[in-house]
């Protein structure tokens, strides 16, 4: 198929065949990571800016490595070091980056809609690396890549997302992607963090963890997002771990081939038993590896549709 998007803002925008195309493209890039020389010249001469106006290690490093492997030049801009702290607006920061002839801006921001805000105003490629509680499209793509690799398919699978759904961009991107590709999505966690309104997105909402994971082929655990949360949502981390944490006892009663996923960073002993995080059925670290291939695919696809401005 012909990829026509210069930006990747939200999984909600994508058609199912576009999602599959990214996953297929990622498959070819995964092979690159297994070579001795882990580098291809696909984006040589292009400049990617990592504009991270909210702290992140995993995602930023992953995008940076992905760009290096595509031979692009990379600049990292962190909130604390940038003009943002001096009162510059996001619009002005972005226009300045464009004036410096960046080709791709990867943005991580605490405000929902920030990536779209940039894409609406810039000619360069904008890749959403997480905007507030809205979307984190490359995370959902790498999760799907992992599921597809482990299970051979996505359609018809039962995927349970357990944890803080309300404040999670990972949950939203996963919900859109999985429902578009035909999976059955169950959301579970405390009622204050898993509002019923998510049923309108085609999900099942369940407040009993045992019931929510009983038939799951995939259990995707989400961290409790302290930094995005109003302080009134549940009594304590201890109670959360007791009632909603994935314990060995609970996991023992799931399907024998159920996978454990987590977008990280994990809180051992809270949403997941520490041993379970390291067990054979946990694919948490493989998700991280797949992130690289998926981000190479996204950068390659989006940066390649940019109109090449030839000298007249």
């Amino acid at each position: 198929m012909n990829w026509t998007r210069k930006d990747l803002i939200a999984i909600e925008d994508l058609r199912p065949e576009e999602i599959v195309h990214v996953l297929d493209t990622a498959l070819t890039f995964e092979e690159v990571g297994q070579r001795d020389v882990k580098k291809v010249p696909a984006l040589r001469g292009k400049t990617m800016v990592n504009l991270f106006i909210e702290p992140s290690t995993r995602t930023r490093t992953s995008f940076e490595l992905a760009a290096h492997r595509l031979s692009a030049d990379v600049v990292n801009i962190m909130a604390t070091a940038s003009s943002i702290t001096k009162g510059e607006t996001l619009k002005d920061t972005a226009l300045n980056l464009q004036a410096l002839h960046a080709d791709i801006i990867v943005i991580r921001h605490s405000s929902a809609g920030a990536a779209k805000f940039l894409a609406d105003r810039l000619d360069v490629s904008v890749i959403n690396a997480g905007d507030g509680a809205h979307e984190h499209p490359t995370q959902a793509l790498l999760d799907a890549f992992t599921i597809r690799q482990k299970k051979g398919r996505i359609a018809g699978l039962n995927v349970t997302i357990l944890g803080d759904i309300l404040y999670s961009r990972v949950a939203r991107s996963n919900i859109h992607l999985l429902t578009k590709l035909g999976a059955n999505v169950t959301l579970a966690g405390p009622s204050t963090l898993v509002p019923r309104v998510f049923e309108q997105l085609g999900c099942r909402v369940c407040y009993n963890v045992e019931e929510a994971i009983a038939d799951a082929d995939v259990i995707n655990l989400l961290r409790i997002q302290h930094e995005r949360q109003r302080q009134t949502m549940f009594p304590s981390i201890g109670e959360y771990a007791t009632i909603f944490g994935l314990t060995k006892e609970r996991f023992a009663r799931t399907k024998p081939d159920a996978l454990i996923m987590h977008p990280g960073p994990i809180n051992r002993g809270v949403e997941i038993d520490s041993d379970l995080a390291d067990c054979k059925r946990s694919v948490i670290l493989q998700q991280v590896s797949h992130g690289l291939a998926v981000r190479m695919a996204v950068l390659y696809l989006c940066a390649s549709v940019q109109p090449v401005e030839e000298a007249a």
Binding site: E12, T89, L90, K91, H109, S111, A112, G113, A114, K116, F117, D131, G132, A133, H134, E135, L166, R169, R172, P195, V197, F198, Q200, L201, R230
Partner: protein, 422 residues
């Protein structure tokens, strides 16, 4: 020379139960029974002549934020929109919690305002909700009501005492109904769209619980509480039930709350961000119903100018509020009269007798001897709202480019034509 004869218009004067084609005479800036010999004739054939419209809720931003709006530019928007009086909110800088600020506003309005400016005073010092403002002195300085608009008084005790105190001065109390605990840092209506967009919710209950509180206090103190810019179905129901019991509770609605829904926020455009927020289709229906059955007796704009650079930011970082004076009449005609939910005289009441009764003004009427504040409108005139032509210093409107139906064609204040400008 403030002598006019407005000829052959359909005169709608709800205060006097008039709806008939006739002439309106102005002598020396007042409505007169007979024409002045040297009167200038305004031909109103085919047009509607009403008492000058009153907007109960505007922000003129002066003093303090004259980069957003001034008394001069804000009142020009009013004149364009057909409004001859505007009631301005006290969240200026400094806040209108002192007689000096009220005197300043009145002085500026006298000097540069092209319509009447009726100031409100704060309920509490610096709108902080902690100590009462000098309400009696503010009354003497010329305020028409008290309100901490934008900052709902959270303390029930302060609210109770403010209401008891204001009753002594016959000042109505107007409240921006928002429970800060429930609303917290919400930026749009809590519902399907806020969850989809990942934006923090401003739930309906955050308004309704304060409306309920205000009803109870109005009943207890037996004095007028006016709930500003109702946005939710639950609020409308509460006010309707209380009115039936005879509670002195009043309510207003803004055109954006009965023409737009929360779905409009899906592009993260901060021109759709206001407080209270745009809500669901069922809320829009409830507000229309409340306007139709008289539960809501006032339509106002909540004209809230903000600079373009302030609004063109991340949605959750943008200030709340939109312009409204220029689009208010057309949007109300379109949503209510053209759709046959209200008759034209009923709509005129929402802009004239409604606010005048609440504020005990001798305006909003074409009675002989009243100030000659008159609006001449063409309810059928089609036009397109182009915010680049606005008189405002700001541009924050969701209605730019909208095809409108209905327009004020002549706005007259004290017998002087202030719109169109000569």
């Amino acid at each position: 020379m403030n002598n006019l004869t407005i000829r052959n218009g359909r005169v709608i004067d709800p205060a006097n139960k008039v709806d008939t084609v006739r002439d309106v005479y102005v002598r020396d800036g007042k409505i007169a029974a007979e024409p002045a010999p040297d009167a200038i004739v305004v031909d109103a054939a085919g047009l509607v002549v009403t008492p000058g419209l009153i907007d109960l809720h505007v922000h003129l931003r002066e003093p303090g934020r004259s980069d957003k709006e001034t008394i001069e530019t804000g009142t020009r928007c009013a004149a364009f929109g057909g409004f001859t009086s505007v009631v301005c909110m006290p969240n200026t800088s400094p806040a209108a919690d002192n007689t000096g600020t009220i005197a300043f506003i009145k002085q500026r309005a006298e000097a540069v305002g092209c319509v009447n400016v009726l100031p409100t005073g704060a309920i509490t010092k610096n709108l902080e909700g902690a100590e009462l403002a000098p309400i009696g002195s503010l009354k003497r300085a010329g305020i028409v009501a008290i309100t901490d608009d934008g900052h709902c008084v959270q303390s029930n005790e302060i609210m109770r005492r403010a209401l008891e105190y204001a009753k002594m001065f016959e000042l109505p109390l107007m409240d921006h109904c928002q429970d800060n605990n429930l609303v917290s840092d919400g930026v749009m209506h809590e519902g399907y769209w806020s969850h989809l967009l990942g934006l923090k919710g401003w739930p309906s209950i955050g308004e309704e619980i304060i409306v309920a509180r205000n009803i109870m206090l109005a009943e207890q103190v037996d004095w007028h509480v006016h709930c500003q810019h109702l946005s939710s179905a639950g609020s409308v129901r509460l006010v309707r039930e209380a009115k039936k019991r005879g509670v002195k509770i009043f309510a207003e609605a803004c055109p954006h709350h009965f023409t737009l829904t929360d779905e409009s926020c899906k592009g993260y455009d901060a021109n759709f961000k206001m407080s209270p927020p745009l809500r669901e289709p069922r809320d829009v229906e409830a507000i229309l119903e409340g306007l139709a059955d008289g539960t809501i007796e006032v339509i106002c704009s909540d004209h809230a100018p903000h600079c373009a650079f302030e609004k063109e930011v991340e949605f959750d970082k943008a200030p709340f509020g939109i312009l409204g004076l220029e689009t208010e009449l057309a949007l109300s005609l379109m949503a209510l009269v053209h759709k046959k939910l209200l008759t034209l005289p009923q709509l005129v009441e929402k802009f004239t007798t409604g606010p005048a009764r609440l504020l005990r003004l001798d305006k909003g009427t074409l009675s002989v001897g009243a100030d000659a504040d008159i609006t001449v409108m063409d309810p059928a005139r089609e036009w397109v709202y182009d915010v680049n032509q606005t008189s405002s210093k700001s541009r924050n409107t969701p209605f730019h480019g909208w095809a409108m139906k209905g327009k004020a064609v002549t706005t007259i204040v004290g017998g002087r034509v202030v719109w169109p400008k000569k």
